[in-house]
Amino acid sequence: VTRIALGGLLAMAAAGAWLVAAPFVLRYQPAGAPWTGPARMDVAVGAALTVAGLAGFGAALAGRVHELYAVRPGAQPGQ
């Protein structure tokens, strides 16, 4: 996976983190008050995006590292 794809996955995770934090940063979810619909939805979608972005980034990075180990002369993939 190219660096652009890796950066895009990281940006996706960052957008999810922003969505989780946005209700509290922009104060459309006051502290202590019952959760509103937009805040609940933003936190849920943001959490899913963060998890998906981080998982995709980790998997792509692991594949890249595995590839680098594989092309190293004299290296075994399991080592």
């Binding site: 652009i4 996706m12 937009p38 979608v45 998982a55 980034f57 998997a59």
Partner: protein, 242 residues
């Protein structure tokens, strides 16, 4: 991830599917974020939440599209390197655009090399003509008789000895003008070999240059023909003209 993949194959799906899946999920989430302020009707009630969702959804859609395209391109490149995908033929328009640049980047051959190659190419035709002794009737031989077909159009099997002029036959038989047998015209003439006939007709069609200026003019004409032929070489426009 990908621990069971062979190290020689770079285009295995395990290395690209997680990124593609995550980018596709992010694209769906972006679409959902853009649509929710309209779907749930909180555009007027929660202005901040609507603006946040629209902006975040728009940016996320762009990022996820770029990620999808990059991962797809990387996967296709790896599959081509593995030989799974066939390499696409070059685009004709791109080839035409690159043609002047390639012609400018290619160094022109040196004139000495060109002339050497020309001499090697024309050696079978020109060497017998150069070895001939200068005959007084040579200008008459250079022009074929108008009633006869052109010698170049005839196959060697069609050129019977009776159809050739005696001087041509003598030339085809070789330089025998010094011996006493050359003066004896009687008796059945030796039938010349086809190769000798071809050389004789080539010598008749291509007159030997009389001086250096004529020789240079002939070589310049051949160079011009070769340059034109090189421009139409196959590979530039994917068509064979030769």
């Amino acid at each position: 991830m990908g621990g069971a993949e062979s190290p020689g194959r770079r285009g295995s799906p395990g290395r690209y599917l997680p990124g593609l899946t995550a980018a596709a999920l992010g694209l769906c989430a972006a679409g959902w974020l853009v649509l929710t302020p309209f779907a749930f009707g909180y555009r007027g009630r929660a202005q901040d939440a609507a603006v946040t969702n629209l902006a975040t959804g728009g940016g996320l859609a762009l990022v996820c599209l770029a990620t999808l395209v990059a991962a797809t391109v990387a996967w296709r490149r790896a599959l081509r390197a593995d030989g799974v995908l066939a390499t696409a033929p070059p685009d004709r328009a791109r080839v035409r655009r690159r043609m002047p640049r390639a012609a400018a980047a290619r160094p022109a051959p040196a004139p000495d090399q060109l002339l050497t190659a020309l001499r090697e190419l024309l050696a079978p035709v020109l060497v017998p003509a150069a070895e001939r002794p200068p005959a007084p009737a040579e200008p008459a031989l250079a022009e074929p008789a108008p009633a006869e077909p052109a010698p170049a159009e005839l196959a060697p099997a069609e050129l019977a000895p009776a159809e050739l002029a005696p001087a041509e036959l003598a030339e085809a038989a070789g330089p025998t003008g010094d011996g006493p047998a050359a003066a004896a015209p009687a008796g059945p003439a030796r039938r010349p070999a086809p190769a000798e006939l071809v050389l004789a007709t080539a010598g008749a069609v291509i007159p030997e240059p009389r001086n250096a200026a004529e020789r240079r003019g002939g070589i310049a004409a051949i160079e011009s023909m070769l340059a034109r032929a090189e421009l139409r070489m196959p590979g530039y426009e994917d068509e064979e003209t030769w």
